[in-house]
Structure formats: C-alpha cells, structure tokens
Amino acid sequence: MQILEPRANPSKVMQWAAPPIAIVLTLLIGAILFWGLGVSPLTAFYVFFIEPLETSNGWSELFLKASPLILIAQGLALGFRARIYNIGAEGQLLMGAIFASAIAIWCDGIDAWWVLPLMILAGAIGGGLWGLLPAWLKTHFNAEETLTTLMLTYIATLFLSWLVSVPWRDPGGSNFPQSIMFGDPALFSMMFEGLRVNTSVFITALAVLIFWVFVARSRTAFELAVGGQAPAASRYAGFSARRAVWLSLIISGVTAGLAGAAEVAGPVGQLTLSLSPGYGYAAIIVAWVGRLHPIGIVLSGFLMAMIYIGGDAGQVSLQLPSAITGLFQGMLLCFLLGADAFVNFRLKRRKPTLAKGAAA
C-alpha cells in the first residue's frame, strides 16, 4: 500500500518542477479529450494557445484577463500561506463591483476626475468588508472561513441579482437585469486605439510590486507564514493567530474588490449578472500554481488567462463546449496537488537501503 517515503528535506527542485509537470499532464489529458471530441489535438492547441497571440487584440485580451486573476491571487496567496482558506474571492469581487458601481450610478452625468478614483476606493472597501465579515465570524465565533466565505459568495450573487433587477435596473435596457452603461468619467482609459486593455492593469502591476517587496521583507508576512507552517512555534513566538485571520481575509477581500471595480469600470462598463467568468475561483488555482509566490503568480495568471481565451476561441472556431475552460482549470489544480506530493515524499526504493538497515 505504502508507495511513498518521506524525504529528509523538502525538494526545492520538485517545488518548482511541480507546476510544469501539472501543466504537461493537463495538456496530455486535454489532447486525449480533444481527440475524443473529434478535433485534432494539434489544431486544438493551435487555436487555444498560439492563434490568440498572433494578433494585438489577442495580447490585449490576455492582459485584460490576466490582470484580475493576478490581482486576486496575490491577496489569496497571503492567506493561503497562513493556512487561512478564503475561497469566497468571487463574492468579494462582486461586492467590489457593486460598491464601485454605486459611485458610477450616483455620479452619472458628473464629469469630474475624482469619479474613477472614488470607484476604485469604493471597490476596495466593498471587497474588504466582504472579507472582514468572515474574519469577524472566525475570530469571535470560531466559524470556519472556508464555509462562511463561500456562503457569502452566494449571498453576494443574490444581492447583485436584486440590485440589477430592481433598484439599479436600466430603465432603457429593455428589461434586461443590468444597470445603465457607465459614462467616460467612470471608466478606465484605453491604452491603445481599438483594443480593450485599459489602465487598470497598472493597479495589478503596482500590487505585484507591493506584494513582492512586502512578502520578501516584512515581519508581518513572516509571521503569517510561520503561523501557517508551525502554529506551535508561532504561538511560542507570540505571533497573534487572530491578527493573521484579520489581515489575510481583509487583504484578500480588498484585492478581489479592486478586481471587481476594474471589471465594471473596464471591459464590462456596467453592473451585470455576468460580470465575472469565475475569476474569484480561478484565482485560487492561480495562487497555487504560482507557488503562492508574487512572481510565480504573475506567470500562472497569464497561463490561466490563456485557458480562458483559448476556451473562448475553441468555442467560436471549433464549436467546442464552453465548459471546457472549467474542466482544464480543475484538472490543472488536481495534477498540481498530486505533483506536490513529491516535494515532501519520494517513491519508495524497491530494496530497503543498507543505511536504513544499519540504523535499525
């Protein structure tokens, strides 16, 4: 039964080799899947991963989709290192989008420079509040954050649905559950003529920089990581577990909220039910595939964005089912977790080694 034995030290090589291994395995199963669907795997991979990058529009979309994924994953990774599992980033994203939209809707018609900054701030507050709530429930009532963050996501979705169906429904929108289209003062400016990518990517870039510097040097980040890996040592050193919960949930809520604000003030341009294609969930995978490391997350964020874009392209030009994106995401994470086992374990040698026998 036992096929693994623990390594003396975690393998540094495997730690960084695991994501590429997971990617290769996902592609391999993907190839079989494409073949089963009657599409040549080579054609499918070309459509998924090469063709979108042959146009400037493809690159624009890549940055547009990678940006929220990277931003959210940076915040999530901080908590995951402390073993605080916020899996409700999707709900925090929606609350950020709702708060930002409130400003855009109330300030409709006002042509002032401060509308957009106020929206960004509101987005951060909205997401932060939706992270603060489970932190409070955890620190004061000991309620498991995995379950509360997820329940709050369902609640945020229903709240959004009510907002766009009743109070904020666009009267001229032929009864669709969506808000008015936002005016220019409430939108990020475009960076290139005719492309959708906008200046919100600089928020993500700034966040990456902050998290990179912060994670590498700050004492707080160290405390969080110790708290996750060695709770007893952490308590002994006097690090507060409560503070870790507050910090990780609020910070990850804020980053998700910012991402939500950037969606409504960016490519979506209004509050709608379908403003996020599951970025909050996908960012969980991005954080893990990126090894919870700020730069690793940038790489995995682009990979995940490619899966999104490829899924869209495959649907349009190969008539592949749209659900294939979710399937790839799930496979990637499963394979990664499997490959990760070999960081701390290795395959058991066939014969017991001499050294072990001598030691016994």
């Binding site: 693994l4 995995t146 009743v166 893990w288 659900a323 979710g326």
Partner: protein, 308 residues
C-alpha cells in the same frame, strides 16, 4: 392553516433528502479524520451521471441513482489518492475536486440540457398514509425518501453499536493507535471517502432524476457546501444531522411558499435565506469551542502516512 402546513412538510422531506445523503456521507468520512470539501463537485458529477443514465434507460431512476452513486465514488477516488496516499492538503484537494466537478458536469451536461425525465411518483404506504398530517408527510413520499430513512437508521446503528463503527471512530480519533494495533488506517479511510463520494453522488442523482427532474448547470446551488456545514452543526452525530437537514429543507420550501402567503419580500432575499442560515448555524455551534472540541474527530484534516 393546516392546508398550508401539510404541503410544506411534505416538500420539506424531499428538499432535505439530498442534504441527508450528502451529509451522512461526509459525516462518515470526517469520522475517520478526512475532511472532503469536494462534496459540491461530487454531487454535480453524480447529478449528471444519474441524469444521463436515466435518460438512456427511458427514465429508470434506479439505474440513474446507481450511476450517480458510482460516479460520486469514482470522483472521490482521485481525492482519496491525493490526500491519503500522496499526503496532499485536504482542504485544497477538496476544493480542486469541487472546481473539477463543476467543470466536468457542465461539460458533459451540455448535451443533456433539453431533456426531461418523468420523475418518480410518491408511494403511499397502506394504512399509515391515512393518518392525518403525519400520514401524507411521512408515508406518502417517493421511494428514495424512504431509502434515506433506512440509510440513516443503518448508519446511526453501525456508528454507535457495531465494531465497524468503533474502528471507524478509532481511526479518526487516534490513527497512530489504530495503526499500532493492526488496523489498516489508510485503507479504512479510502473506504470512508469512497462511501462519502457515493452518498454525495446519490444526493446529486436524487436532485436531477427525482426532485427536479432536469439537468441544469450548477443545479446543486451550494447544497454540497451546506451539507459540509451541517456535519459541523450536527457535531458529527447522525441524529442531529437529520434534524439539521430537515431544518434546511423546511427553509427552502418555506421560501418557495412565501410568495403564496403574500410575503412581499424580494425573491432574491428569500433565496438567500438558506445561505444566511448556514452562516448563523455555523456561528451558533462553533462559538462553543468546548462542545466542538469534544466532538471533533481529533485527527480531522491531518494526513496520516504509516511507517516511513
């Protein structure tokens, strides 16, 4: 008033049945020390497998439910391999299973969206179903609801009164000890996780072939997560799990009937009630740390790799 109460109670049992199956399955897995957050994903995989099987057998729900249970167990297998053999983090792996289940079921389900099934007629038990109120509520349900009663009774008995139950609990409380006296801890946990998967698959299958009976993408709508929360609420006791499931089933049904009573609340607020209630219930039970500590399987969530 009585003419309102009876249909609500009748509906409550149906709405609660998926929670009963999924919750009992997760309870057994957690009793042995394994927390599987993939219940939602396994339910969805079970739901689409059951629906597909039932469609291909002209609406045979028994074939459908069996396929659902089998698919749920199969979906739990990679989770078991990753967490039990490879020592992967249980929370992360369970989450991965849910993400995978959402994707896979949507992928397979795309070709089944337009189908519908006949559903299952209630089976009135002679004499007993004639008792006022209790009769129609308890004894005029579909067969699967009766099956859920049996599952509960058998499980509660096995856990409390049999040697198997004792071994299961020992593995969860003190895996090193159970291993030392010769019980195959990993194999027992495999069994419990696969059982949990089968029960989640059954729960999903009930939704898609009996309760709705349709396939809709993401049709479980968080019920898998609510089932996980119910296990905490139940403090790992089957009886309390049933109580919790019926409480939530009742809430779902009340919410559907609310409009009929002239309650002028937005439908979204009513739909949010089960999720809000889940949080409230978690808070109420978790705030009593002693109660939780006393009942929590001691090794819950911790990997166990024998030897080395």
């Amino acid at each position: 008033m009585i003419e309102h109460i009876v249909p609500i109670l009748v509906g409550t049992l149906g709405a609660a049945t998926p929670l009963v199956f999924a919750g009992l399955g997760e309870l057994v897995a957690e009793k042995t020390g394994v927390m599987n957050l993939g219940v939602e994903g396994m339910m969805l995989i079970g739901a689409i497998a059951a629906f597909a099987a039932a469609v291909h057998t002209d609406g045979n729900f028994v074939v459908g439910l069996s396929a659902g249970a089998l698919a749920g167990a199969l979906a739990a297998l990679p989770f078991a391999i990753l967490t039990l053999t490879l020592g992967a983090n249980q929370a992360a792996t369970g989450l991965a299973l849910t993400i995978f289940g959402v994707g896979l079921s949507a992928f397979i389900g795309q070709s089944f969206v337009s189908y519908s099934l006949p559903g299952v007629q209630p089976l009135a038990i002679p004499l007993l179903s004639d008792i006022p109120v209790i009769g129609p509520v308890l004894f005029k349900q579909d067969v699967v609801v009766y099956f859920s009663f049996i599952c509960f009774a058998v499980l509660a008995w096995v856990l409390a009164k049999t040697k198997l139950g004792l071994v299961l609990r020992a593995v969860g409380e003190y895996p090193e000890g159970a291993h030392a006296i010769g019980y195959p801890v990993t194999a027992i946990r495999y069994g419990a996780v696969l059982f949990g998967g089968a029960m989640a698959g059954l729960a999903g299958g009930y939704l898609s072939t009996v309760y709705t009976p349709l396939w809709v993408q993401n049709m479980t709508a968080g019920r898998g997560w609510i089932a996980v929360a119910l296990v905490v609420f139940a403090t790992w006791k089957p009886g309390r799990l049933m109580l919790g499931a019926y409480l939530f089933g009742g809430m779902t049904i009340l919410q559907l009937h609310a409009q009929g009573f002239g309650v002028a609340l937005p439908s979204q607020l009513l739909s949010a009630v089960p999720y809000i209630a889940t949080i409230v219930v978690l808070v109420l039970i978790s705030r009593d740390r002693k109660l939780l500590q006393l009942n929590l399987p001691a090794s819950l969530g911790k990997p166990f790799i024998a030897g080395g």
